[in-house]
């Protein structure tokens, strides 16, 4: 079939855009693995830079993983019951509350960080501990968990399930544990993957909240971009890609699945 010229034009724009996005990512992967980026690939491949990153920044990688796991735990404990409560009472008040907790999606992280710093900055025990960064991460990721679970719950008839269980004598906590949580699992899974992905990549809040002894992965990245040679910065970025890309793909898969179920 002969294609119209506009078809080729559209293809060209799409390919150029993809190139704009992927070429620097490939460059960074190559630069992280070449002996000398300035001389090019002919200087040979090496894992030396990855090793250097490990020596310099492994703490930041572990801190980010730890923050992501604890952030997930906190958003699960706060977010899943809250989504259930919001689904049980759909009304103006619930919508306003949902709107309010979603503020961190709209208000830039820098502004939120300044707000947190000014309220808690003088509590030095809290200010200098990792839980201060955790509070920021939970603040930013919580709306994703709540909305993801809420969307799945709103799409199903959990009330009649609950009523049948209640007639059979199940108490409210039992119903939550045996009916609500299992039914909301697709939403919980999608929300969890989103929380972990966003927490590992969070920079705007974390940069303001971190201390010199508590650097997360993205904070370490900013540090390496400013002060390390290009190969080390690239190798570090490569490590970040290896962590974040599978998470992103799992997140997209789980979110699409939850949306299919919620429809």
């Amino acid at each position: 079939m002969r294609r119209a010229p506009t078809w080729w034009l559209q293809l060209a724009v799409t390919l150029l855009t993809a190139a704009f996005l992927i070429v620097p990512a490939i460059q960074s992967i190559l630069a992280g693995l070449t002996v000398n980026y300035f001389q090019g690939l002919s200087s040979g491949l090496t894992l030396k830079w990855i090793g250097r990153v490990w020596d310099l920044y492994s703490d930041s990688i572990f801190l980010s993983l730890w923050l992501a796991v604890t952030c997930l735990a906190v958003t699960l404990v706060i977010g899943v019951p809250a989504a259930y409560a919001l689904a049980r009472n759909p009304g103006r008040l619930s919508r306003m509350l949902e709107e309010f907790i979603s503020l961190p999606l709209a208000v830039p992280g820098l502004a939120l960080a300044l707000a947190l710093l000014q309220l808690y900055g003088t509590m030095s025990g809290f200010r200098t501990s990792w839980t201060f960064i955790l509070a920021g991460h939970v603040l930013y990721t919580l709306p994703f968990m709540v909305r993801s679970v809420l969307a799945v719950l709103m799409a199903m008839d959990f009330r009649s399930l609950e009523e049948s269980a209640a007639t059979l004598g199940a108490s409210a906590p039992t119903r939550f544990r045996t009916i609500i949580v299992p039914s909301a699992l697709p939403g919980i899974l999608a929300g969890s993957l989103t929380v972990v992905t966003l927490s590992i990549g969070e920079f705007n809040l974390t940069w303001m909240l971190h201390t010199p002894y508590l650097k997360t992965l993205p904070v370490g990245l900013a540090d390496s971009y400013a002060s390390m040679r290009l190969e080390v910065a690239s190798a570090y970025t490569l490590v970040f890609f290896v962590m974040i890309v599978p998470l992103l793909m799992a997140m997209q898969w789980a979110t699409a699945r939850a949306q299919r179920i919620a429809r």
């Binding site: 559209q10 293809l11 724009v13 799409t14 855009t17 993809a18 704009f20 996005l21 992927i22 620097p24 990512a25 460059q27 300035f38 404990v77 977010g79 019951p81 809250a82 259930y84 409560a85 049980r88 309010f100 503020l103 961190p104 999606l105 709209a106 208000v107 830039p108 502004a111 300044l114 707000a115 947190l116 000014q118 309220l119 509070a135 939970v138 603040l139 919580l142 709540v146 209640a166 409210a172 906590p173 939550f176 992905t197 966003l198 990549g201 920079f203 705007n204 940069w207 993205p218 990245l221 971009y225 400013a226 290009l230 910065a233 970025t237 890309v245 992103l248 793909m249 997140m251 997209q252």
Partner: protein, 267 residues
């Protein structure tokens, strides 16, 4: 335990966390903005100081340019990818949505790899083609993280368009251009407005990219950062943050009334 009490208990952790880490800090932020000798007139002072005004103008102009460019590019690519099936389409789609998980700092580094002193363009082209640290670099960086967000919104909207309208227009003899202008674009309009607003708000608040590129162009988040850390002008940093937060929040609120979706802010 009665059902009502249990549901109330379910909401308790959220209420406590939100009060302690969102409501009270925001109140404190607004309060802190009034704690210089100018008091609440500090908001007037923003509008009277050329440096802040210029920053505001810069930020709005860059964000506007990025939103329009991202809309144009993503609409072309989005309509194309939604309407055509060909080998490699899945891969293209993955590449185009990959930057969704990149923090602003990484996006900044990507632009340095393209247009920095050791960048691709400076290596390929003789002479000094360094654009990463200029307005161009900032624009490209913001474009980098805006394209995936806008693209996803556009593609979701294209799937919902009714193909029989285009079919009808074609049978009635409309040219492809006319179909785009009279059928496809009006159908996409609400989503395009919403996606544009999201891109604009994200660009307005983007900090990581500007921070990595360390440009000499003053954009609002960078000025807030320097006022806070270097000048220790806490009241002004707070006032500018309140202003920025209000603008992005109102924009996204307006966008949502169009379609009902928001994509995470970042950059």
């Amino acid at each position: 335990m009665s059902s009502r009490t249990f549901v109330a208990c379910c909401l308790l952790p959220l209420a406590a966390f939100t009060l302690a880490f969102l409501a009270l800090p925001l109140v404190r932020l607004v309060q802190a903005s009034s704690e210089s000798e100018t008091g609440w007139h500090i908001y007037l002072q923003i509008l009277q100081t050329p440096r802040y005004l210029e920053t505001l103008l810069n930020t709005v102009l860059v964000s506007l340019a990025v939103s329009l460019a991202a809309l144009a590019i993503s609409t072309i690519a989005g309509v194309f990818l939604a309407r055509n099936r060909f080998p490699g389409r899945g891969l293209l789609l993955s590449i185009l949505t990959l930057p969704l998980a990149f923090p602003g700092v990484v996006v900044g580094f990507m632009i340095i790899l393209l247009g920095g002193r050791q960048g691709l363009f400076n290596q390929l082209l003789p002479g000094h083609v360094v654009f990463a640290y200029s307005l161009t670099g900032l624009f490209l960086g913001y474009l980098y993280f805006s394209i995936p967000r806008v693209l996803l919104t556009v593609m979701a909207a294209v799937e919902k368009l009714n193909p029989s309208l285009e079919e009808a227009a074609r049978t009635l003899g409309a040219s492809p251009l006319r179909i785009v202008l009279d059928v496809i674009l009006p159908g996409l309009a609400p989503s395009l407005v919403a996606a544009g607003a999201i891109a604009f708000a994200t660009a307005m608040g983007a900090f990581g990219t500007a921070f990595t590129l360390a440009t000499n162009i003053d954009v609002l988040p960078m000025v807030i950062y320097t006022e806070f850390t270097l000048s220790a002008n806490i009241a002004m940093a707070s006032a500018l943050s309140v202003l920025l937060g209000l603008v992005t929040w109102l924009l996204l609120l307006a966008a949502r009334s169009f379609t009902g979706t928001t994509v995470a802010a970042g950059g």
